[in-house]
């Protein structure tokens, strides 16, 4: 559908203004020397007062990383990354673990307030429960709320560096067990230089009393963020975890290479939601975050369930495949995704569902919207191993194109070795139908509103999977990301 002249102007005017999280916090920081070397790895490990085994683990990963080739198969293009032209550790000064929220630099508190993230332990919204937040600022976690309340139930929710000190047995047992350091180049780099992230442990039979959430903020220039999240749901437990992220507007590209590992034991359920809104670069494709993330969950136990929901609107380049390894019998994996790319954004995202246990089920719903000059790819794998009796998968991926300078690609891989398994995949690509628009306009909606309505309907199936606090934000994001690009 051709954009009207008005719309084109609007897009130009809006340009960078649409990214409202693009401010920089002026704060004194402590950084490691620029570049990457074994010394930097040792520096980070020393800074975190880590045990020897972890340093060894990091160094092993680093040496492996040096030899690993860059993954080239994704449908994204960018100049080679100069790994030496970046800082691998940056932390606000005097941030060596504040004991209470009162000790936090007020400048930081203001930053999070501006981002709309409550670091005060308040009963937010009208809801009954609050949201516990772990706020990660560049390389360190600056605050974690509601820790006390969670501890009453035995839930551990803390920065991973703290978990390494306080709960080494848990960390050692599970770290790298889902995403081994040698999994891919980006995960390997993360294993070597990860600085912080969240650690969650839900004990047996506990239903986590509130939503857990981590908010990632890249602030410093030329800094990569390498956080590591480890989430363990013990037998019969349940947790819903949210993740959000933003970064200032800068002309250079910044690297974000995170690793998320989820482990669900017998009858446990993990719901993991992401609203990814890293700075996407300006309208000419300058700047923005390279978001190269490895997320994987292992349904180790019987009847366990892992559900990924993601709303991807930011980042110059997204390379992300939240996956489920369905080991336990009757385990369930779900992946709901809305990805929106505009201007010169590129996204290569999707999921892997590896069916190993009997009667395992998976469901994939992916909605991609591409506008401007953006290129978007859904890349997924559904693999049914020979032992996965009665496995079931249904995949649906739909793409919507707005404008004739963008592209949408669907690359699903289906591999089945079991006759009793049923795998179904369907995909469509289309534009917003003239009939739908006409219907809306007839009822007095402007064209832009009509498009927003149709797009929201298109994404609805995924958005309604989000926890309420996020669903509202996500809906707004969807309309902001597309504002001006339609008409």
């Amino acid at each position: 559908m051709a954009a009207s002249i008005e719309t084109t102007q609007q897009v130009q005017e809006m340009g960078e203004r649409t990214y409202k999280y693009g401010f920089v916090t002026e704060i004194e920081t402590e950084t490691a020397p620029k570049g990457l070397s074994e010394d930097i790895v040792r520096f980070i490990s020393a800074k975190k007062e880590e045990p020897a085994w972890l340093l060894e683990w990091r160094l092993k990963a680093y040496r492996r990383w040096l030899e690993m080739p860059e993954p080239k198969w994704a449908n994204v293009t960018f100049p080679p990354i100069d790994y030496q032209d970046s800082y691998y550790y940056s932390a606000p000064k005097t941030m060596d673990g504040p004991n209470s929220l009162d000790e936090i630099d007020p400048e930081l508190l203001r930053t999070y307030e501006k981002l709309g993230i409550p670091l005060k332990e308040q009963e937010i919204l009208a809801g009954v429960t609050g949201v516990a937040v772990d706020a990660v600022f560049d390389s360190v976690s600056v605050a974690t709320t509601f820790k006390g309340k969670l501890e009453e139930q035995g839930v551990i929710f803390c920065p991973i560096s703290e978990a390494i000190r306080e709960h080494p047995e848990l960390v050692r047992k599970y770290l790298g067990s889902v995403v081994p350091p040698g999994d891919n180049k980006h995960a390997c780099l993360n294993s070597a230089v990860f600085t912080d992230g969240s650690f969650v442990y839900i004990p047996k039979g506990v239903r986590c009393p509130m939503e857990l959430s981590t908010y990632f903020r890249i602030n410093a220039a030329n800094t990569g963020q390498f956080e590591r999240t480890l989430l363990i749901a013990d037998a019969g437990s349940y947790v819903s975890y949210l993740e959000g992220c933003t970064a200032p507007m800068r002309d250079e590209n910044q690297l974000h290479a995170a690793v998320v590992e989820l482990i669900a034991l017998d009858d446990a359920e993990i719901k993991y939601s992401t609203v990814q809104n890293w700075y996407p670069g300006d309208k000419n494709g300058k700047g923005g975050i390279y978001n190269f993330v490895t997320k994987r969950g292992a349904c180790r136990g019987r009847n366990s369930k892992i559900s990924w929901t993601q709303v991807e609107t930011g980042s110059a380049i997204t390379w992300k495949y939240p996956s489920c390894i369905l080991q336990g019998d009757n385990s369930v994996g779900e992946f709901y995704s809305v990805a929106i790319t505009n201007n010169y954004q590129q996204a290569d995202t999707g999921t892997k569902m590896i069916h190993i246990g009997k009667n395992t089920r998976s469901r994939i719903v992916s909605k991609g919207i591409s506008a401007g000059h953006a290129q978007q790819t859904y890349r997924g794998l559904v693999k049914i191993s020979a032992k996965a009796e009665g496995a079931r998968n249904h995949t649906q991926c739909d793409s919507l194109l707005i404008g004739d300078r963008c592209g949408a690609h669907t690359v699903p891989y289906i591999e089945s070795k079991n006759r009793s398994a049923i795998v179904e995949h369907e995909a469509t690509t289309s534009k917003i139908s003239e009939d739908q628009l006409f219907y809306c306009r007839q009822r007095g909606l402007s064209e832009e509103d009509a498009v927003a309505l149709v797009v929201n309907g298109f994404c609805r199936e995924v958005l309604q999977q989000l926890p309420m606090e996020f669903a509202v934000e996500a809906q707004k994001l969807v309309s902001i990301s597309l504002e001006g690009s339609v008409g």
Binding site: S399, A408, P412, I414, S420, E426, A427, T429, S430
Partner: protein
């Protein structure tokens, strides 16, 4: 077949080319020499495709590499009576026979060719009237345009000796199907041959070509075919192919189809033979309003491996494509379906639909499917679907409740499943022949493991 001491490598083909270089048909033609040299250079550079090549991700050429092949010599003597006729009224239509890739004039009824139809062999054409072939053979640049570079197509260009040449002149309709039989006749040593076919339909022409690939005897042979098809404005080609090669055969076929404005290509592939087979079809919908139907069925058992790889490029506005492939896989067989539809920026208001369905009949059978969509135009409707599973239990129960034994019930369902791809075939007499081919396959079921 005893395995030869020296296995096949890219180098062994390059060496074979070196030895044959000056005796290949058209060796005196500078343009053809250049094309062949380019082909062998590309092949030598790319080598035999391995696991790192995305387009060959699921297909290994191990059965090829294990055996040493020698170039097929002069056509072996083949008894006319041994050749099965696919179409019911042979003798009335046009019939061309190739043995080990070479035209057997004596078996072809070329005498009563209608006006405006040129039908013959490539080697002959290169001897008598080579010039019109230059543009056609070089059209697909030895596979340079394909993402994997099509090394085996490049090898075909270098080594091609013979093949079908069909040109239908402007406005001519060939009423009867042209049946082309390719016979693999393994000798004492495993042989390799590289037939190259050219089909050109001039504006408004119509023709139906039925390819029938069969093997005589159980020995190994390597058939590495290449086909260039060009369909000009408003012309229509119906192209049906039955691949029923010998049990140890390796059958690789690369087909390029280019369509001009309002042209139609209606392709169908039935793949049931060969130890290892790969059908790679690349369709370019280059003219506005052109249309492509590409359907097929495969039936596999034992240790067969069948790879269907299709790429359809919508390059012009209002083009449409429809693709349906269905297959059944038994025993330890493995099927691969890779289908890509690309709608380019200028191809507004195009439609592309693709469906791949597979039935796994045994616990050790495997299917790998990769249906891809690449869309660069916004005003399009495209979809693809893929399903994998066993027979529908409810349907099976329904039939059994009516007193039909399980084995028969399964056969009925499989037949019905595959029939959907066959029913649309326009060529008279071909549908029943294909259906009986399915029936025959079902009758030969061995070692099926019941649940």
């Amino acid at each position: 077949m005893p395995e030869s001491a020296s296995p096949t490598t890219a180098q062994s083909f390059v060496a074979q080319f070196g030895a044959l270089r000056d005796t290949l048909p058209g060796a005196g033609l500078p343009w053809l020499r250049e094309l062949r040299e380019d082909g062998i250079a590309r092949f030598a550079k790319l080598g035999l495709p391995g696991p790192k090549v995305e387009a060959w991700k699921y297909t290994r050429l191990r059965p090829l590499e294990r055996i040493g092949f020698v170039p097929a010599g002069a056509a072996a003597q083949v008894d006319l009576d041994k050749l099965p006729a696919l179409l019911p009224h042979t003798g009335v239509g046009h019939r061309v026979v190739f043995v080990n890739g070479r035209l057997r004039q004596c078996l072809a009824l070329l005498a009563d060719q209608p006006e405006g139809v040129e039908l013959g062999g490539l080697a002959d054409a290169l001897r008598h009237d080579p010039d019109p072939l230059a543009a056609e053979l070089g059209r697909n640049g030895n596979g340079a345009r394909a993402r994997d570079g099509q090394p085996l197509f490049a090898l075909n260009t270098a080594m091609m000796q013979d093949g079908l040449v069909l040109r239908v002149r402007r406005g001519i309709s060939v009423a009867l199907p042209i049946e082309v039989i390719y016979v693999g006749a393994p000798g004492p040593e495993p042989v390799a041959f590289h037939p190259r076919n050219l089909i050109v339909l001039e504006p408004g022409a119509r023709a139906t070509v039925v390819e029938h690939h069969i093997g005589l005897g159980a020995g190994a042979y390597f058939a590495n075919g290449g086909t260039d098809i060009r369909i000009e404005e408003g012309a229509q080609l119906h192209h049906y192919k039955i691949q029923d090669e010998g049990p140890e055969a390796i059958h690789i076929a690369t087909t390029h189809v280019e369509l001009a404005r309002d042209a139609l290509y209606d392709g169908f592939i039935l793949s049931k033979g060969a130890r290892l087979s790969r059908q790679e079809v690349a369709v370019q919908l280059a003219g506005e309003g052109s249309e492509c139907h590409l359907n097929g069925a495969y039936m596999l058992r034992g240790e067969q491996h069948c790879d269907i790889t299709t790429t359809i490029d919508h390059l012009a506005p209002r083009t449409s494509s429809r693709e349906v492939f269905k297959g059944v896989i038994d025993d330890q067989a493995r099927a691969v379906f890779q289908g890509r539809i690309t709608v380019h920026r200028d191809a507004q208001q195009s439609n592309g639909h693709q469906l791949s369905k597979a039935l796994l009949l045994s616990d050790r059978a495997e299917i790998d499917a990769k249906p891809e969509l690449e869309i660069f135009a916004d005003d399009v409707k495209c979809s693809h679907g893929a399903t994998v599973g066993d027979l529908d239990r409810d349907a099976l129960f329904y039939l059994r409740a009516r007193g039909i034994p399980e084995a028969a019930a399964r056969d009925i369902l499989i037949e019905a499943f595959l029939a959907e791809t066959i029913n649309n075939i326009a060529a008279e007499g071909l549908c029943p022949a294909l259906m009986s081919s399915i029936g025959h396959w079902l009758g030969g079921t061995t070692g099926r493991t019941e649940p």
